[in-house]
Symmetry: C2
Subunit: 276 residues, 2 copies
């Protein structure tokens, strides 16, 4: 049985017994973006160090990942420290580093996470899934031909596709799309993390103008627990992303991910650097 | 000349020369909430350690603060480390600690921040300020009588006030309000940070039922630079907050803060723990 490319990308090796918080891994060509790894896969790798940690309690509830420097192709180390463990919640500080030219550890990613043992309470979906045609009635789309990570997903765009002509003629930043992993793979917290970053920079859509842009920080709130993920199986998720403001070099991007049955699985926001 | 209570609350003392990243401070009675300090003031204190740091470059662009444990009345220490400094951006890891019963440092808050030297670019407000009556035509409101931090703000609620009767009869989680500091004080990044948390728990509004609730993590994106803050002066901000999902012990809360002239100064999201 072959290993799914996402699971290959998420592979981490535990560090020496003297460093129980330390893991090492490698960037994945299968999730390569234009000039570095797909940020969603990097965020999922950060969370993987938490998921693998023997002292973890509960499921992921919140994750913030800051892209402090360019992640180069090759080896990296991730340190996930449970800095505070309460009765049912646990707070994590995570750092991903690479060796610099002088062989010294250099911080590439900083992150924090919250895991929690969740109990059943009153629950309410206050952001209903938009009424859209099912994935079966939505033609397959190509986001960016030849970009490696994009071909790891089956994407069907309902609204807000990449402009075919970058001519500055556009008026909003809303994208709605169906997506699932290719090949199919049951949804888990790592996949959901990566998918939260599967929307291309809103500035390209809003301006119909392709300027240099890159995520500097992303925060994901997991509204789903293991039961909702299990119920989703390998089915498509509906994703929606939109910006609120573009100002002097940075814009925000808010997104939601629903199961096909309308369960809001995750909400996320990110801040993106752009030039010009 | 008397010092504004907010500036008193934000006072930090630098640590010894051997620990340039370390500051100490005290919780403020003027910003006390029901059973601990107002989380917005605590988030602003975390940012203050960055603002005071002699190695800082640029203005705050993003801040995430995780409330890992209850902050007790009294002394605390804040350590703000510039873990990565690029040409125009800088990434910070911040930890706020208090002595535990055994006299050992115990982590109460973890945080990350991004500061940046911003350059003028194409800019666009994609979330117009809602059309609402001006603050002069909006009656003053009392959020929670007798709660200390609430009286540090002049709040005029347009929509989504605290339910007068907690009878379970409610249908949405949207609050819109005008707010400014009392006494008046020119807007800065610290004040904007605190105001991003000035909305009471959405679950109380959504359910018209007051259950135990507390913020576990908040992320703020600063769309404003120093120029926009200066232009605002002491004027009211328009704030809007709404939840997207309530699920098994946690809900999210998204908010926007505009200047009266319609400039989107900050967007924020937080995840809130609730019981039942």
């Amino acid at each position: 049985m072959s290993i799914h490319p996402f699971d290959q990308a998420m592979a981490l090796r535990p560090g020496p017994a003297s460093s129980p918080d330390l893991y090492t891994g490698s960037t994945s060509e299968a999730y390569w973006n234009m000039i570095g790894p797909f940020g969603g896969a990097t965020a999922a790798t950060v969370l993987q160090a938490v998921m693998r940690h023997p002292a973890r309690i509960g499921d992921p509830v919140a994750l913030t990942v800051n892209y402090a420097a360019a992640l180069e192709a090759g080896e990296f180390s991730v340190r996930a420290i449970p800095v505070r463990t309460n009765r049912s919640t646990q707070h994590w500080q995570i750092t991903l580093s690479q060796k610099d030219a002088a062989g010294l550890d250099s911080v590439v990613i900083t992150a924090t996470a919250l895991t929690a043992v969740r109990r059943q309470t009153w629950s309410q979906n206050d952001t209903p899934m938009p009424e859209v045609p099912p994935p079966e009635d939505t033609p397959a789309s190509t986001l960016f031909a030849g970009v490696s990570w994009v071909s790891r997903y089956e994407i069907r765009i309902l609204r807000g596709a990449v402009p075919e002509v970058f001519d500055g003629r556009s008026s909003d930043s809303l994208t709605q799309l169906w997506l699932r992993e290719r090949p199919e793979r049951p949804l888990d917290f790592l996949a959901l993390t990566a998918m939260a970053d599967a929307f291309y920079p809103r500035v390209w859509l809003r301006r119909a103008h392709r300027v240099p842009a890159g995520t500097v920080t992303i925060t994901i709130y997991f509204h789903a627990g293991s039961a909702e993920l299990l119920a989703n199986g390998c089915d498509f998720l509906l994703g929606q992303a939109q910006a609120q403001a573009f100002r002097n070099g940075f814009f925000d991007q808010s997104a939601q991910l629903w199961s096909r049955t309308g369960v809001l699985l995750a909400t996320t926001q990110q801040l993106v650097y752009f030039k010009e």
